[in-house]
Symmetry: none
Subunit: 212 residues, 4 copies
Amino acid sequence: MPRQGNKQQRRARVATYEKGQARIEEILDAAADVLINQGYKKLTLRQIAMQAGIKVGNLTYYYRTKEALLKDLLEKILFVYLDEMDRIVEASGDSPENRFVAIIEYLIEDLHTQRTTRFFPELWALANHDTYTAELMDNMYAAERRALRKLIEAIKPQLDERQTRQLALFISCSIEGMTMFVGAGKNQENNLQAMKKLACKSFLQLIEQASP
Amino acid sequence: MPRQGNKQQRRARVATYEKGQARIEEILDAAADVLINQGYKKLTLRQIAMQAGIKVGNLTYYYRTKEALLKDLLEKILFVYLDEMDRIVEASGDSPENRFVAIIEYLIEDLHTQRTTRFFPELWALANHDTYTAELMDNMYAAERRALRKLIEAIKPQLDERQTRQLALFISCSIEGMTMFVGAGKNQENNLQAMKKLACKSFLQLIEQASP
Amino acid sequence: MPRQGNKQQRRARVATYEKGQARIEEILDAAADVLINQGYKKLTLRQIAMQAGIKVGNLTYYYRTKEALLKDLLEKILFVYLDEMDRIVEASGDSPENRFVAIIEYLIEDLHTQRTTRFFPELWALANHDTYTAELMDNMYAAERRALRKLIEAIKPQLDERQTRQLALFISCSIEGMTMFVGAGKNQENNLQAMKKLACKSFLQLIEQASP
Amino acid sequence: MPRQGNKQQRRARVATYEKGQARIEEILDAAADVLINQGYKKLTLRQIAMQAGIKVGNLTYYYRTKEALLKDLLEKILFVYLDEMDRIVEASGDSPENRFVAIIEYLIEDLHTQRTTRFFPELWALANHDTYTAELMDNMYAAERRALRKLIEAIKPQLDERQTRQLALFISCSIEGMTMFVGAGKNQENNLQAMKKLACKSFLQLIEQASP
DNA sequence: AATGAATGAGCGTTCATTCAT
DNA sequence: TATGAATGAACGCTCATTCAT
């Protein structure tokens, strides 16, 4: 997935000038808004155009098909997470344990945002039937696991790669699974902090007691 | 795995004869097929009817609205899991630890079946848009947590209710989160067994080391 | 329009036995009920069958098509009015003026019944596109005018036939026109009595002052 | 006879250009055609679109719902009559009696036009099912009665308001009632002129002999 | 006589997409 | 770039009708 700082190239077929580039960002922001606030079912060109303050005709000038728009939207959203992973793993100056706890807490806090709560279940469902979505999701989760692995390694260098990979996968699964239960508006929402504590404790225990 | 000793009365208002009852099951099976293979976006009356080998008019004879059909479909799907929970929790004659491990292993094995792998992400997405789905899912997961709580209690009776509730929630989240990674056809599928071991070890540790 | 007392033969294709004949009357009564209380739009086979307490399948046993049922319904309803006209005109033992006033008052009172208020506008509209309805309506109104003519003749024997015909037509028009204004539930409903008085006064004046 | 000095703004949300405005008028004309020639039962979006020579999709571009289209259609039709009432009542320079006779003759002549003959029975029937239609019709007839009242007042100033109101209502009823009998193509059509004479004579008599 | 089951046509409506201006 | 206009396909749903039992 090509990334150049924050200036990733969109798929939109046009927009050679600055104004067009800005419009594209407006469109994608509008689409994200609609998806988050009204759900996938209402994510129609009409709604996106209305949210962006333009007409459908103009929207289709930038994106010939809805599919193309959705791809750009998906990339834009996932890019945020990828970026965040990079930043977290590069942050230093503290003990690996503390950094590990920080990342776990960040991830769990994040899945309580409207965006993550509503977006990801849609993406998991989409990934079941759309290989492009599946690929992109895989890439993003691979990046997450890479980040986790680095920290696990720092905490317990004796473990071999297989072990760290499996630990990272297990931790990632555990956290993602919370989305449907303690995500924004979900009925176990009030247990979010308890889950954070249990997660940190459990994951650290698991790492430290792993036999090399 | 049909709920035993339960007449499985569907919501459909008609179908008093055997032929009609059979047709209703065919319709629900067809709907499940479509949902699994094509996603809820394509879960239309026309698709369901086609899959069932009948015409839309006949489908609406059994289910006057799509909503009614979806309700029956959901209940049919979730009852299977509810039923399983009941049976597992009632199984006895072994140590609580062993029963706990058995249930964890069962749940993880199950999410590797095609049906579970594909159904649940669809249902989570659906629950994002439809409150009835959300409610039914909540009920099912509540039953799962009840089952887990009973075993946790048996393993460590000193814990208070709040603690067992939170432990059950954490464990349930962890397991559900695996669906998108080690489910049938997912790209970490080969790590299923490793996840089972890690899960059992980690969860038991967490329970035993919980301070009352 | 064949009439044999009140035992007119229905168009229904079957019903050779008594039970069947009774059922047909039930069906027509049910249809009239639905038409009056729910309007033409909801006059569906489903509704009629439900009102009659039978199933649609059985309804179509008696009436192969909806059109056939509607024809019978139309005849049945119009027959009531025809019958009434006959009776009124045959009533005697009073002065022609009094009998004339009685019939005018009866007609105006009648158009304040739910049935007449709701039924006739439907029929006028139907008669615009359906010649059979148009014919039946013409027959009924011709009978009404015949009745009126006989009374006009009795009141003022000097008038020639052309004059009595025109007077009868004018009077009939005037009365029918009230339906949409002082019919049941219409917004000039409270002026019904005033219209009755004006009508009687005006019509009698017109007859008496007609120059032969 | 379009309402003069009135921009005839339709309810349609779009159509900012001339082409769109023209299309809207075409649509309404098409709808009127269908209503007149086929009745409101066949007044479907598909029929209207076909008559207008466009596709249903385009029709719904101009009118998002059938209800909105019907509202515009009704207003367009009724405005013509409302406008005519205004003009007639404002015409002056003659004796009130002559103006009264003129308006009666105009109204009766008008109901012999194809449009009036076929439209109004449909509208009365529609008003039976649809409150908005009922309201609009009421407004139009109220305007007609206002016009008649002014003339009755001018002819016989001694009458109180209640009396003029009732006279106007009675006259309006009488005229409307002729539609189904002497309207265009109806079987008493040839008595139209006789009805005109009887109506004028009868109504004037009624007004003049009313006791204050 | 009566019913359940099934069909096909049509309904109003939504939507992504195309195109001329 | 941007918009209004137009299209075609599909949606959920209603309904009259047919038919086997």
